[in-house]
């Protein structure tokens, strides 16, 4: 369950590198490179969230807020103050981390549902702020004029270029997170998951580690938000509403929260569902999401990434 093999990573990396090239050759999926940018952006969030849910055993229903804080920090500082986008991205990360500590520290000392409710409330409050602070955020109409990204004169101004940029971030986050899981820190997290009393007695600072993971997931979400803002050059509050937080939850649950691949699978499937395959459901897609979430929770508690285990179990019998 834990070892992240080098071979699957290599195969996956090859697929990601080749994808835009394949998409150009196959007309029906030509616009899929664009969708894959969003998959990458969501993967950044789900990687952190799966660590939070699968390893620290905590739920956040407010990560849209950190995603939004990243996006709005980037948007406001670049569009209104002309600061360097990379610097703004960094400021967004710092702000998200600070906010995550403020929200997480008190609720992670409590058990169970408290973080879920605190993040839910926090997410809604932040959403209201985005809508109400019109002078800063443009209110419900949103903000335009957010510049694109470029590095040392190289502009990430085409879909393909931005695609590679986003996926470099995803790979960095994936490898960092995988290293983390396989280290002393990951062991501590797994210990917390297995038995809090024993972990505490062995010197593991339980609320400290939970907070660390919560902050890490907030930082990744913020980074994703900045990448989103600089890609679309436009943001408005509706992207960061409660339903987005729930969608993230569905991604994690569907993919499987006990395995980092689950974060990628879930983000990929749900993104393609909502951008491509659920078009004819229109706004009733929410029912499909609810059904997916319920069915997965009942029948596939380890998500799609857990199915090999189940199949293996059949063969053993």
């Amino acid at each position: 369950m834990l070892r992240i093999g080098k071979l699957p990573i290599a195969v996956f990396a090859l697929f990601i590198v080749a994808f835009p090239w394949i998409a150009h050759k196959v007309p029906p999926i030509e616009n899929y490179t664009d969708i894959m940018i969003f998959v990458g952006i969501y993967c950044l969030i789900t990687l952190g969230l799966s660590l939070l849910m699968g390893y620290a055993g905590q739920i956040s229903i407010g990560h849209a807020a950190f995603y939004g804080i990243g996006a709005y920090t980037s948007a406001i500082l670049t569009a209104n103050y002309g600061l360097d986008p990379w610097l703004c991205m960094f400021f967004g990360i710092i702000l998200s981390a600070v906010v995550a500590v403020l929200v997480g520290a008190p609720s992670l000392k409590l058990r169970g549902h408290y973080l879920a409710m605190a993040t839910l409330a926090f997410g809604i409050i932040v959403y209201i702020v985005f809508n109400e602070e019109t002078a800063w955020t443009g209110g419900p109409d949103g903000m335009t004029g957010i510049p694109g990204l470029s590095l040392l004169g190289f502009a990430f101004d085409s879909v393909d270029r931005y695609y590679y940029l986003v996926w470099i971030f995803v790979f960095a986050a994936f490898i960092f997170t995988a290293n983390l899981i396989q280290s002393d820190t990951g062991r501590a997290l797994r210990a917390i998951h297995a038995s809090e009393p024993a972990a505490g007695a062995m010197g593991v600072d339980i609320s400290g580690y939970k907070l660390l993971v919560f902050v890490y997931s907030a930082v990744l979400a913020s980074l994703a938000g900045s990448l989103y803002a600089h890609y679309l050059n436009f943001i408005n509050p509706s992207t960061f509403d409660l339903f987005f937080s729930i969608k993230l939850l569905i991604m994690i649950a569907l993919g499987g929260m006990y395995n980092l691949w689950g974060a990628i699978i879930g983000a990929g499937l749900i993104t393609f569902l909502s951008y491509e395959w659920l078009h004819y459901f229109e706004e009733f897609e929410v029912i499909v999401y609810g059904a997916i979430l319920l069915v997965v929770t009942i029948f596939l508690p380890k998500g799609l990434a857990g199915t090999p285990e189940i199949v293996e179990g059949w063969f053993r019998k």
Binding site: M1, S183, D184, R187, G200, A201, M202
Partner: protein, 258 residues
């Protein structure tokens, strides 16, 4: 480490513990000398596990103090107490069943060797070196407790006797000064009990003080230097095994007066 004028590693001073209206411990005081094996015995519900939970920081006492190596620790959280040098096992085995035998002991090293978040995420050379150190130390402990060959097995695949031994090994990995063992022989057969008792002696021979809760009188009388007897949350006797065996109040408490 030696502390001037201190030969009591642990002092329990007038500890009260109330759950709602129920007094689980009342005015309990005793001392544990450095390097000894001290046992806490008493009928079911006497407050032994509560005492352990207080000493190891699961919850603070309602009143009173716990002095460890000359410093009050009664209001510290569990992980802080572990860092000060108190380790423990649990009455109902609390191994990390999502880990292997080796990983359980490796986690036990957490109080002594740790890598930072960034270092482990980036897999810096420093982190790899520490990981190797942890692994080496954990293997050494597995050899000491006799489970080296099973290092790759999932922890929950071991028989109960070995799980209890592994839990002791995990507690040892943090180099504690005091180890609290909560019924190490409970549920074990005679051979396993013998193995456990010799292990406790071997641990003690390394200079680690042992505080022990146990029901098996044979084990207690065999290995402990001193015994504290609790009944209904109060200390009714304290002394050497011989003294305890002949103490009228103890006999009464165990045989019951009605």
């Amino acid at each position: 480490m030696n502390f001037i004028g201190e030969d009591n590693i642990l002092e329990v001073n007038r500890v009260n513990m109330a759950f709602g209206g129920l007094m689980a411990l009342s005015h309990l005081s005793f001392k544990v000398k450095r390097g000894m094996i001290k046992a806490v015995i008493g009928p079911n519900g006497a407050g032994k596990t509560t005492l352990f939970n207080i000493i190891t920081g699961s919850f603070p006492p309602t009143e009173g103090s716990i002095i460890f190596k000359g410093m009050p620790v009664e209001h510290l959280k569990a992980h802080k107490i572990a860092h000060r040098g108190i380790s423990r096992t649990f009455q109902t085995v609390e191994l990390f069943d999502n880990m292997t035998v080796l990983e359980n002991v490796m986690l036990g090293c957490h109080t002594r060797i740790r890598t930072s978040f960034l270092a482990s995420g980036l897999r810096l050379p420093m982190a790899r070196k520490k990981e190797a150190q942890i692994r080496e130390k954990a293997m050494k402990i597995l050899k000491f407790i006799g489970l080296a060959e099973k290092f790759k097995d999932p922890a929950d695949s071991l028989p109960l006797g070995e799980q209890k031994i592994l839990e002791i090994g995990r507690a040892l990995a943090g180099d504690p000064d005091l180890i609290c063992l909560d019924e190490p022989a409970a549920g074990l057969n005679e051979t396993e009990t013998y193995v456990a008792s010799s292990l406790i002696r071997a641990i003690n021979a390394k200079g680690i003080t042992v505080l022990l809760v146990e029901h098996d009188m044979k084990v207690i009388m065999n290995i402990s230097d001193e015994i504290v007897v609790l009944n209904y949350g109060q200390k009714i006797a304290e002394g050497s095994p011989d003294q305890i065996q002949n103490n009228a109040r103890v006999i009464e408490a165990y045989l019951g007066s009605g």
